[in-house]
């Protein structure tokens, strides 16, 4: 079994300040972890993924995430928010082997970026 908990449903930051979106996971298998972004009325775009290699993962648009097994966390960060970062962010878990690529989504965090 696998699950994901996104600890904040809404996060609001000022432009130019750091972003932190929190995610905790639970998995019976060694997990792959992903962050996807969904802009309003758009599809989902992959930001970054962790697949048991380096624990600090860099993604697109300046985002990065750190896999911490001891804390079962995979928090998403960005040093400086931009207005275009305003969107819905999903943390996703998948078993590395088996499970048929079944992605389990968190409930999402809406990021608001203010001037």
């Amino acid at each position: 079994a696998q699950s994901v908990t996104q600890l904040d449903s809404h996060v609001s930051v000022s432009e130019g300040t750091p972003v932190l979106l929190r995610c905790n996971y639970s998995s019976s298998y060694s997990p792959s972890l992903f962050w996807y972004v969904q802009h309003p009325n758009k599809g989902l775009q992959l930001l970054l993924k962790y697949t048991s290699a380096a624990t600090l993962v860099k993604g697109i648009n300046g985002f990065e995430a750190e896999f911490k097994k001891s804390e079962t966390s995979f928090h998403l960060t960005k040093p400086s928010a931009h207005m275009s970062d305003a969107a819905e962010y999903f943390c996703v878990v998948s078993p590395i082997t088996g499970g048929g690529n079944k992605l389990t989504f968190g409930t999402g965090t809406q990021l608001k970026v203010e001037l």
């Binding site: 997990p31 969904q38 599809g43 989902l44 775009q45 082997t97 048929g100 690529n101 989504f105 409930t107």
Partner: protein, 114 residues
Amino acid sequence: DTAVSQTPKYLVTQMGNDKSIKCEQNLGHDTMYWYKQDSKKFLKIMFSYNNKELIINETVPNRFSPKSPDKAHLNLHINSLELGDSAVYFCASSHHGQGTTEAFFGQGTRLTVV
């Protein structure tokens, strides 16, 4: 070039009707999926096909019937539409068997049942 394309983008229909949503991918992937996103933006897998074979079938009413004519296409047919079927439906594709590979999503089909 669109990687995963769904049609239509918007679909408004009356209760009781039957409708289909089409999906095509040109990424050469062997696995395709349908996900449902509800009004609270929660995404849940409905079906997954690998090389035209059903491999994931979550608890979905049997009014929903996926069909994969080939590994590049996965269509979703819905019979006797109900108000609760209103949602955004996303098609996705990936390489099978490796949980390390990400899924690529289409733009979504917003279904509204009135």
